[in-house]
């Protein structure tokens, strides 16, 4: 029914580029396990078991458990940044672009909330070099959102007294969706995205 690239919700699975197959299965298993129990509470035996392999098999494809987290974090951040940027760079008024950015970014964090949780909340488990690389990706998120808001202010479409602070708040609001979103809850990722796009337009005082 669905291809390897698509879930039922229509969100792209970010692991298409990972090969060989065994390495991808280990990565997917690690995402599940890290999201459920946290990086430090997850054992390499658990990851290998979920992937249907022996504990030693993990070390054929990854040097350490931390390398798994690093790979997940980098790919996850890049995919989320892609989603955000393609909305930020689209045609339309600043309000259109901001609404679309929030809608798609939130949809990603809700639909891919397992990946997002790992990516957002396990950063401190990475070593200094890997962490620095991820932090740089995050700053690009910030720049993308701030750019739209600045455009809106310059065009006179937004009323934002504190652009930097509002940027932080908007991103924080979107990212935290990964923490509370529940697949069995009453809302679909699309619905949360629509709600949040409206709330954010209010936050920036967009002229209706």
């Amino acid at each position: 029914m669905s291809t390897a690239e698509e879930t039922a919700g229509g969100e792209p699975q970010p692991w298409g580029e990972v090969s060989p197959d065994a390495a991808r299965r280990l990565l997917v298993a690690a995402v599940e396990a890290f999201a459920e129990r946290g990086y430090h509470a997850t054992t390499t035996r658990d990851i290998a078991g979920r992937a249907g392999m022996s504990p030693a098999a993990l070390y054929i494809h990854y040097k350490t458990k931390e390398e798994l987290l690093h790979r997940i974090s980098r790919i996850g951040h890049e995919k989320a940044l892609d989603v955000l940027r393609s909305a930020a760079d689209s045609e339309g008024t600043p309000a259109d672009r901001l609404a679309e950015a929030v809608r798609s970014f939130v949809r990603w964090h809700a639909g891919q909330h397992t990946v997002a949780r790992v990516v957002q909340y396990e950063l401190d488990a990475l070593g200094p070099d890997a962490r620095a690389e991820i932090v740089a990706l995050r700053r690009q998120n910030d720049a993308a959102v701030r750019g739209i808001i600045e455009d809106g202010v310059a065009a006179g479409d937004f009323d934002v007294p504190d652009v930097k602070g509002t940027t932080v708040a908007v991103l924080s609001l979107c990212i935290d969706v990964a923490r509370w979103f529940n697949v069995n809850g009453p809302r679909t990722p699309d619905e949360v995205g629509a709600l949040y796009a409206d709330l954010v337009l209010r936050m920036v005082g967009a002229t209706q």
Copy 2:
């Protein structure tokens, strides 16, 4: 509801009721360690060391490492709930009450961001019974905020198409402050509180 002891920053220290002294020192040490490295990455040797004691001393005052986390979570949630409720129950228009609730709740999450991080992000490390107790406290947060928003809608002061969704978003925004707030950053807890109070009033469409 305690009229608590105050630090220089004006935020109440939540641990006044914990005694004897050694038990309180261990609790404070555990909060620092859990906030820095996470529950699972923190060792009992580290906690005891920060409190200036031997590893075995921890077990005179607490049955397990998890009991420490449970105590921290319960006290932390109760203090945050106190802060939120005293604003929610105050006199004034719904807009005044909502602004004050957000301002003080955000101030708490920024000023006490070590406690708040532990309380918000280590919930899954608790066993089922302890977790259920904490989840019940969280629902009271939700009820307090939703109450103010409903009052505002009933009074015609707010324009909120989706009360439940907006409540979740407001609380999420406030709580996530604990994740990104940095003591060495450019903003004080008071400033973030003021910014967020304004943003939330916009989110609910408060008549200015």
